[in-house]
Every structure is written in structure tokens, then in C-alpha cells.
């Protein structure tokens, strides 16, 4: 049984099949990329896996558990974190607070003890902060720690969002277009971080990407979608040469 098993997943919006009988498997420890032209259903697929949409048919299994009908807030504690294509950070909070919010699933104390801020709560807070500092060190965010998201440049926000996802201490990380809108150096850095996250932290990564350079560098296997359907699967080199993929990107005549 593979780590993340997507089987026969479908959803339609107002008669349009956004995702049409898609199946794929992700093995533990790999970097898996999903590519496809605009409107291919990549983000919708992510939304289905992470519990933001519920499919019309098919199933999603994660670490041997059926998560098809679980809502997002019950999927996150299982060790699945994600980022968003258009960045969904907590705008009016600082970077530190954003990362601390990322540790929500690791809270152990109750709201009542928060009211009194019992010593146990303080110990827990210190523990959260130590873990958050590790992420800050890894992603080199120390300089921005106390700044509000609203004041940060786009590239940094993108990194903070990955950082927030890492604070969940996930086993599986879904990255939706981690390099879109970044300049070449920032993309390069992001590529290194994805490799680090995968290799050093042992996190399985599934990412949606446009940037074929990044995909061939970090991804082991690639899935190509077009109009909601799988058109190719294999190593980056194989998929890039696949005629169906070439047609989808350049238009078939």
C-alpha cells in the first residue's frame, strides 16, 4: 500500500469535470510533481486531497487511512500540510505568529488553562517557540521574525508559507506552485529547500509546478494532467518527451 493513494478521483463544477477519474500513488520519502497547463485541475486536485473540496467519486488514502471525507482541520493533524498558490497567510500577524499558528495541531493544553496561563501552558509555549526557531533557522527567516506579513515582499511570503507548513511537522507536504512569481535566485533557493526538507527532514513532498527546470532537478516522478485527466506519468525526462504532454502544452493539431 503506497503512502498517498489517490484512486479514481472526480469532481465537477457546474457540469465541467475539473478532475476526471484521476489515480496516482506517492511512495513514502519521494518528491512527486504534478504538472499541466492552466486549468488542468492541479490545484483542484490538491484541494480534494487536503479536504477543502469533497469529491463526487473516488477515494484518497493517506498512510493507510481513508481521508476522502475528512474535513481539512482533521486531515492536518494526521501529518499533511499544504501551501497555497496565491499565498494564504495571516496578513495582520507577524511571521513568528504565523509560524506559531502552524503548530496548532501540537497544542496539548485546553482553552481553560490558556485563560489562566498555567505553568504548563508556558512550558508548552517555550517548546513551540524552540521548534519554530528551528524552522526560522532552516529557511533563513530570522531577519523577518517580528514583521507583519502585510509589510513583506512576495518572495519572503512564499517562504513563510512553506515555513508555516513545516511547523506542523508534516509527514507529507503539498506545495502548490512553490516557485510561481519568484525571481531566478529565489526559485533556486526554494529548490534547495525542497531538497533539504525531503532529504534531511524526511518529508514526502507532492508539488504542483510550472517550472520544468525545478521539476527535473528535485522531483523523482512526474504526473501530467490535462483537462482533469491524467495524460502521462513517469520520470521527468520521460514525461517531458511524452507526445501527449507536448500536445497539451503546445496545442495539438
Amino acid at each position: 500500500m503506497s503512502y498517498l493513494a489517490v484512486e479514481d478521483l472526480s469532481i465537477s463544477f457546474g457540469g465541467i469535470r475539473a478532475v476526471d477519474h484521476v489515480s496516482f500513488d506517492v511512495e513514502e520519502g519521494e518528491v512527486f510533481a504534478i504538472i499541466g497547463p492552466n486549468g488542468a485541475g492541479k490545484t483542484t486536485l490538491f484541494n480534494l486531497v487536503s479536504g477543502i473540496y469533497f469529491p463526487d467519486g473516488g477515494s484518497v488514502r493517506f498512510a493507510g487511512r481513508d481521508i476522502t471525507s475528512l474535513p481539512a482541520h482533521r486531515i492536518a493533524p494526521l501529518g499533511l500540510a499544504r501551501t497555497f498558490q496565491n499565498i494564504e497567510l495571516f496578513e495582520h500577524a507577524t511571521v513568528l505568529q504565523n509560524l506559531l499558528i502552524g503548530r496548532h495541531v501540537h497544542r496539548r493544553s485546553s482553552a481553560l488553562s490558556h485563560l489562566l496561563f498555567l505553568p504548563a501552558v508556558r512550558r508548552e509555549e517555550l517548546e513551540h517557540r524552540r521548534r519554530v526557531e528551528d524552522v526560522i533557522d532552516l529557511l533563513e527567516l530570522a531577519h523577518y521574525r517580528e514583521q507583519r506579513i502585510a509589510n513583506l515582499p512576495y518572495g519572503v511570503r512564499k517562504v513563510v508559507e512553506v515555513g508555516r507548513a513545516l511547523c506542523l511537522e508534516p509527514k507529507l507536504l503539498l506545495l502548490d506552485e512553490p516557485t510561481s512569481g519568484l525571481n531566478p535566485e529565489e526559485s533556486e533557493d526554494m529548490g534547495f529547500w525542497i531538497e533539504d526538507i525531503n532529504r534531511d527532514l524526511g518529508v514526502t513532498v507532492v508539488m504542483v509546478a510550472h517550472d520544468m527546470g525545478l521539476v527535473s532537478r528535485v522531483a523523482g516522478r512526474v504526473l501530467a494532467l490535462n483537462e482533469g485527466r491524467v495524460i502521462a506519468e513517469g520520470s521527468p525526462a520521460e514525461v517531458q518527451k511524452n507526445p501527449a504532454v507536448v500536445d497539451a502544452y503546445l496545442g495539438a493539431d
Binding site: 490545484t43 484541494n47 477543502i52 497555497f84 498558490q85 496565491n86 494564504e88
Partner: protein, 257 residues
């Protein structure tokens, strides 16, 4: 854009009409047209000088701003016209219409007819005219509307002008049955309930919402103990929001990510 001061604009419209017709002795139809026009100009200026500044601010700011404006209007109306309820003379006061067994007073008939005409006109305006369609576009996506060349600011001012003018019509229609006084705008909350039940942005929906509330109030008045009549509108509003949090004819969907 949400306007919590709509009821108070209606009240202003009624007062202007009372002044023009009752005090200045203008002919009824002329006074009516003039007060609608006056309110439309007022709405335009209100947007141009006050509301335009909060364009692009969170919705919360607009809600609070219009609530504040409503209070100002009420205080000003109280200063100018006083707090004693005034009656509103119409050419049709006291007469009634007989249709077979049913007797309807002309005042209520005027409300019915006026509402129908207004709805048809507005419906056609939003469906058929360039300006109406531009307004719909603006309400859906301000930036995109601006990019395709719609003068968003002017459109907003015009929306406010129309909305104030419509409020004036409503005020004038309502004035003969409920006296004219600064507090009459509170019925605006019920209008809100109607709009919410119908779903914002849908004129037939608002009409249906209004009917539901009106009928329910009458039934509650007849069949339930005293007090339930006033409560029924709010009860229905809450019920409707529980069942359809985005209105019966919802157009707004969950945010995309």
C-alpha cells in the same frame, strides 16, 4: 456595498416630500418628482464626498460608516422637522378601491402599484441598459471593471443616486400609511431582512423576501400572542440565514484558493 442608512434615506425622502407638497403647496406629482430628484442628487453627493473615501477598505468599515450616517440623518431630521409625527396628504387619501368583494384603500393600492412599477423599471435597467450592466460588473469585481474601462467611481456615485432615489419613492409610498417622523427609517431593518432573504443582488429575490416577511407578520399578528408580530421578521431573518447563509438566491460562493 451595503447600506445601513437606507431606511433613513427613505425617511429623508418622505420629509422632503412633506415639505414640498404640504408646506410649499407644490402640485402632488411635481413635488414627488422633485423629492426623488433631490434625494438622488443627495445620494450622488454623499458618495462623491463621503463614501468614496472608503472604497477599498474592508466591508466592516462601510457597514459602520453607513450606520453612523443613519444616526446623523436621524438627528438632522429631528433638528429640522422635529419629532412630532406628521401626516402626509395625497390626492387619494381616504378613498378606496373595490374589486368585487375585496376593498383596498388607495394608499395600499398605490404601494402595490408603485412597487411593481419600480421593480419592473429596475429590473429592465439592470438587464438592458449599458449603465445597469456596468453597475452589475462593478459590484462583482471592482478592479476588473476598472480595467475594462468602466468609470468605477462615477458608477458608484450613480448607484448611490439611484438607491437614494428609490428610497425616496419608498418613503413617499409609505408615508400616507405610517406617519412621517425621524424614526420611521427603522422599517429599513425589515427591508434589509427582505434583501437578505432574497439574496443581495437579486431584485425578484428581494421582492419575494419582502412578501414572505409581510405575510408572516400578518399571520403572526392574527394567530400568535401579542409581541410575536414584531418578532416574526427577525425570527424569519435568522431562520433564513441558518438555512441559506448566503440568501435564498445566493450568488456568492466560497472563496477560491
Amino acid at each position: 456595498m451595503v447600506n445601513f442608512a437606507q431606511g433613513d434615506l427613505m425617511m429623508l425622502g418622505a420629509f422632503v416630500a412633506v415639505t414640498l407638497i404640504g408646506d410649499f403647496g407644490l402640485p402632488w406629482v411635481l413635488g414627488l418628482l422633485l423629492s426623488v430628484l433631490a434625494l438622488a442628487v443627495f445620494g450622488y453627493l454623499l458618495d462623491a464626498f463621503v463614501l468614496r473615501r472608503v472604497l477599498g477598505e474592508p466591508q466592516f468599515a462601510i457597514v459602520m460608516l453607513t450606520i453612523g450616517l443613519g444616526f446623523i440623518f436621524r438627528a438632522v431630521a429631528g433638528l429640522v422637522w422635529g419629532y412630532d409625527p406628521q401626516s402626509f396628504p395625497t390626492p387619494y387619501t381616504g378613498k378606496s378601491l373595490r374589486v368585487g368583494e375585496v376593498v383596498v384603500s388607495y394608499e395600499n393600492f398605490a404601494i402595490l402599484l408603485g412597487t411593481l412599477i419600480l421593480c419592473v423599471v429596475l429590473f429592465l435597467f439592470f438587464r438592458r441598459t449599458r449603465l445597469g450592466i456596468a453597475m452589475q460588473a462593478t459590484s462583482q469585481n471592482q478592479l476588473a471593471a476598472y480595467y475594462v474601462g468602466i468609470p468605477v467611481k462615477r458608477v458608484f456615485s450613480l448607484v448611490w443616486a439611484i438607491s437614494a432615489g428609490v428610497a425616496a419613492v419608498a418613503g413617499i409610498l409609505l408615508a400616507p400609511v405610517s406617519l412621517v417622523q425621524p424614526g420611521m427609517g427603522f422599517i429599513g431593518i425589515k427591508a434589509f431582512a427582505a434583501a437578505v432573504i432574497g439574496g443581495f443582488g437579486s431584485i425578484p429575490g428581494a421582492l419575494l423576501g419582502g412578501w414572505i416577511i409581510g405575510i408572516a407578520e400578518q399571520f403572526a399578528g392574527v394567530y400568535l400572542p401579542a409581541g410575536f408580530q414584531e418578532m416574526s421578521a427577525y425570527g424569519i431573518l435568522i431562520l433564513a440565514l441558518i438555512l441559506r447563509p448566503q440568501g435564498l438566491f445566493a450568488q456568492i460562493q466560497r472563496k477560491k484558493v
